[in-house]
Amino acid sequence: MAYLDHAATTPMLPAALDAYVAAARELGNPSSLHAAGRGARRLVEESRERLAAALGARPSEVVFTSGGTEADNLAAKGIFWARRDADPRKRRVVASAVEHHAVLDAVDWLERHEGAEATLQPVDGAGRVDPEALAELVRAHGDEIAVVSVQWANNEVGTVQPVAALAAVAAAEGVPFHTDAVQAVGQVPVDFAASGAAALTLTGHKVGGPVGVGALLLGRDVPCTPLLHGGGQERDVRSGTLDTPGVVAFATAVEAAVTGRQERAERVAALRDDLVGRVRAAVPDAILNGSPVDRLPGNAHFSFPGCEGDALLLLLDAQGVYCSTGSACSAGVAQPSHVLLAMGADDGRARSSLRFTLGHDSTKADVDALLGALPGAVERARRAGAWKTPR
């Protein structure tokens, strides 16, 4: 088995799993006032401090959530609601065209149900947002913009955005800047304070922690209306009993991912470069999508002309090689990737793409397994692609 889908989810780190199990054996609701509750609260707050320290944030800026989707929704909707309520002119929401659906669909919902006006910032052929173009937009419409959201790194093609430059142009006009850093944490240096972002999304299961826990780092002065109402556990911005073992394991994983980041990133990037070179040698007309430079270390994303991505996926799956078409699914049907389309690819190139993502436990054997299966799979997928052409 060769697991090349770490961007979907990555194995839990043993330390995070141990921390989870240990904390799950303990009794106590962190909101309870007795000793058991205080014990749980202590675990949560220590985790908050560790997580904040690892990401250049203050502990009070950490709002635990159920994961990346909730954090993205909280940032996009919550900041929009709060700023529009304070100033009815602030109805515009700016997002890049290559955002994850957790942001894009939240923005779309705001437009359809809350009277928001969505502006999708275009990207270049590598998937990058141009800070100067964003600056122009913000200068022209700053008093109408409720929030700007641009991801730190793309989940499909791995392109890393110039986040600090983008955050700076938003901040210059007093507009809160949110960044979805789900794919970035543990892969590239992420420092919340240094980035200048007002809000930042991360999640546990992409860094070796458990699924079902994540966080929004939210500046103390950033207004945000809650999505979930109830006990007000997290700064009154997010309600719900805190998942103590999840939070502990999450913080353990983030800490480990950030501490060992540089060494691991260098190793994974070398492995990825080997993968890219060997795929190109085996399939000379394969197109590497995304940026050759500003790229996540574990990401390789190709279009294989004449192939359908889902046919390749099936054939590789049958050989024990697990990867992804990288695009959103609708009832299991692969849609052409909005990311590739935004980067200027045509429908065919978008549908012929496949994402390979390496992670902390990837080895050369994984790359060898891929290259063992890929040439035959491409040949078969090309034959199978021919049936789609008009006869």
Binding site: D310, L314, A318, A331, R383, A386, W387
Partner: protein
């Protein structure tokens, strides 16, 4: 794997027979929302989930294949165009011909698979002959008779020796949750079952005359000739009763003049059926055999002769309600299951001159 009980058990049996089986669910709706309103459509999200769960229980890989464009072009458009041309299509037959045993099979073979397994109730044994299912009321050989030799050679129908009841019992014994899922009957892309409304939404209203087949007299108006099928009695809404007071039936549909011709039941009777695009498996081009003229229709003894592009059947006793566009399927009666000799698309049913 449609998400129903038949394809689930077929997949399980194919796996038990030692094949390396992969489950495929076809997404057939061009817009994922359009066909997904009815609980019984063949491509609802629930059906996709049911198929996935069945594949999990059986222990085989599972994928959804997007055949929406092909289905729309080959089946839905064909359905509408056929009605517009005054014919009565069978979309399930067309789906077998163009999608399941062409688009899916071709893609599967290119990807390295050897055959398509389906849950159709029909027998296809080692002798290569397609036969009726042991469960005659559930028999689906009629909608498979359009398959060519090459297609049949790459098809596996594991259910032909079982009754539907046995299939359900086996599904329950295997722990498949779809064991007691209701059968689907309707046309999968018309979720509400309103075929006339579906056609009207695509073809628009086209009012025309309803005329008497014997006198040529105009008896009433219709809102679109495509809404009628040969042999139809209900829904004519004729204000003028027949002289003898007997019910009148649709005898023919003429798209050019947009007329629907009606008459008494006996005028529906035909004993010569002409058909085109024959698929013929028998070595002999003339056969005394049984013919079936519509899905789940009665069987009539006939003598059939076949050429490269036509089939003519002379019926031993007249048949009623023979509609152009339907398939004529020839069967050789056999104690081990009636054998499909071939099929063709009906172009006309006529009355031999001697009877006139």
């Amino acid at each position: 794997m449609s998400g129903g009980v038949d394809s689930a058990v077929a997949a399980a049996r194919a796996r038990d027979a030692g094949h390396d089986v992969t489950g495929v669910h076809l997404a057939l709706a061009r817009n994922p929302q359009t066909f997904r309103t009815g609980a019984r459509g063949c491509c609802t999200l629930e059906d996709s989930r049911d198929a996935r769960r069945a594949a999990d229980v059986i222990g085989i890989p599972f994928y959804v294949w997007d055949m929406a464009e092909e289905f729309h072009d080959s089946v839905v458009d064909d359905f509408v165009n056929e009605y517009a041309a005054g014919r009565t299509p069978n979309p399930c037959l067309r789906c077998n011909e163009k999608i399941k045993f062409t688009a899916v099979l071709d893609r599967a073979v290119a990807l390295g698979f050897d055959a398509v397994v389906t849950g159709h109730h029909a027998r296809l044994g080692a002798d290569g002959l397609l036969r009726r299912s042991v469960d005659l009321p559930k028999d689906q050989s009629y909608v498979l008779a359009v398959l060519t030799r090459e297609q049949l050679d790459r098809s596996i129908f594991p259910l032909g020796d079982s009754t539907k009841e046995q299939v359900r019992a086996e599904a329950a014994a295997r722990g498949l949750a779809v064991a007691d899922k209701p059968d689907s009957h309707d046309i999968c892309f018309i979720a509400d079952g309103d075929t006339r409304g579906f056609l009207e939404s695509r073809l628009g209203a086209a009012p025309g005359d309803i005329v008497d087949g014997r006198t040529g007299e105009t008896l009433g108006r219709h809102n679109g000739a495509y809404g009628f099928t040969i042999g139809q009695r209900k829904g004519l809404d004729l204000r003028v009763p027949a002289e003898d007071g007997r019910p009148r039936y649709v005898l023919s549909i003429t798209p050019v003049s947009n007329t629907v011709t009606v008459g008494p039941r006996e005028d529906l009777e035909v004993d010569v059926v002409s058909a085109t695009r024959p698929i013929w498996h028998s070595a002999s081009l003339a056969e005394d055999c049984d013919v079936q003229l519509r899905a789940h229709g009665e069987v009539v003894a006939a003598s059939v002769s076949v050429t490269a592009d036509a089939l003519v059947a002379t019926l031993r006793s007249p048949a009623r309600g023979v509609a152009a566009g339907q398939a004529i399927v020839a069967y050789r009666p056999d104690p081990a299951g009636d054998i499909v000799l071939g099929s063709a698309t009906i172009t006309a049913g006529t009355r031999a001159a001697s009877h006139a």
